[in-house]
Symmetry: C2
Subunit: 342 residues, 2 copies
Amino acid sequence: MSNDTTPATGKQHLILTGDRPTGPLHLGHFVGSLRNRVKYQHQYEQYIMIADAQALTDNMDDPAKVHNNVLEVALDYLAVGIDPSKSTIFIQSQIPELTELTYYYMNLVTVARLERNPTIKQEIILRNFERDIPAGFFTYPVSQAADITAFKASLVPVGEDQIPMIEQTNEIVRRFNRLAKQDILVECEALVPEIGRLPGIDGKAKMSKSLGNCINLSASAAEIKAAVKNVYTDPLHLRVEDPGHIEGNIAFTYLDAFDIDKIALQEMKDHYTRGGLGDSKVKARLETILQDMLAPIRERRQEYEKDRAQVLQMLKQGTEKAREIAAKTTDEVKAAIGLKHF
Amino acid sequence: MSNDTTPATGKQHLILTGDRPTGPLHLGHFVGSLRNRVKYQHQYEQYIMIADAQALTDNMDDPAKVHNNVLEVALDYLAVGIDPSKSTIFIQSQIPELTELTYYYMNLVTVARLERNPTIKQEIILRNFERDIPAGFFTYPVSQAADITAFKASLVPVGEDQIPMIEQTNEIVRRFNRLAKQDILVECEALVPEIGRLPGIDGKAKMSKSLGNCINLSASAAEIKAAVKNVYTDPLHLRVEDPGHIEGNIAFTYLDAFDIDKIALQEMKDHYTRGGLGDSKVKARLETILQDMLAPIRERRQEYEKDRAQVLQMLKQGTEKAREIAAKTTDEVKAAIGLKHF
């Protein structure tokens, strides 16, 4: 597995990454992936997929939500500085070849193997699916393998918990290449970010729109202010003069993620631990940092929002470019398993 | 469920039928479906799918076999009198839209529901898959639903044992239409043939190439002769004068299926049951009938074999025509679940 410190090796690596369009992107996405993509686009050939087809595997009851969030996610991408002239942004459902690859890869994976997938196991619990798992959700590791291999991606940024997905993809790659007696598909490597998941403002779990503990990238100044006010700190730190705890204190977790002045931050932590530093001062610093960071993102988003047709045009061009590559791979795959006749 | 006696109702019904191209078609196919298709093509709008993609769900280890049998199956179709000017013959894998529909329908079916499918349960036993069921095989009822609904087929000829597949398709149709709040997909009806499965010449099970108990449609005169010689009769009927049994006697089962002179056949059965009629006489009649029936089929096949490029051209035209319909349905399906953006 690679991590953030992988040296820039020019453009020989192709990165595939993306998001399910089910709601606004938030600080958790920013820390875990978006700000890395802004960096990667200068180092690698980067493809960013708006995974609407995958989003339907657990949102089939609300397809309109998925549809509407495609453009919202694209706006978030542009707002954080992902540059469509450097990164190819595309819509998954508009590349039918990805479903063809999924279909044929399904023959290379057993049901028992899918049942053993730890990520799926965990997500089934998270979603309270129990026996009512949609078949599309159950088999989405195969769909992910199709996405990754269609682009012959060699690097895939994922959280630690998604590493089993990468292993599943590479198993399919090896099985397919063995069957084809040639190296048509390419194995990929997980690219795990240095800073993992960001907890929600309530400190209870990861930041997640379904838990309502997010700060969205498009949050207004007032929303940011309110959210910081509610950030979970140290419940035992009742009076300013009391010693406070850093661990599990979300204000400091966020400062760790966003404050670039690490020396000042360390001094603040020491002061807080000794006692004599109130939560309000810590939160004031956090708010300043978040307001400064999010203001230009929000403004850029507002600019792009004025011309949604142009954003859609950008997505169309990205999708066309991406489709060419996926179609070429699909053609190779189908030819290798006797599915070319004309 | 309909059966053979459904009155011809003009062309308002669309039939979808087909075969997995995994080997030569045989008398079992002829009785169970091919000869009906020759009739149906005058009554209905008939689409016949060479299901190479589905064949791979349990033949991924030998894709060349599937590839090579596509044209062989087409030759068998033409040989029995399926007329491409009346029936549209197409190759499943050349219509990517079918994999798109499969992908999205997977979200409408739970894993538990697939596990309960009796046809799948039985076929898993038949194939000794146990825990190593390929995911593609496990989910092929969803793929079948995609095939059927892509053409908005209202009639689907199937054996009794395949009726659960039709039920699964109609469940998907109802769930999808409810979700889309409009009747985009069409429910279908099983069309069960009067004469069901033909047993193999060994009398042990249905005729099946994997059991080596077939008479292929392309069998030579000598092969037919040899097969009839080996047809299982009544093991207790040792001497000509002994009374013989009709039940389980494959020679008579075949005569029931192919001898159009039902009066002469009944006389022969009575004589056999009384005693005094040797197996050799019964088999001689069976051989005459089979030779007479298969000779023109074999000869037509040999004619078509002379110009395989032309047969391929016929398949190309059929596939193009079929793809237009499937693409139209897929477009409607995707639009209804928010997957149209450009």
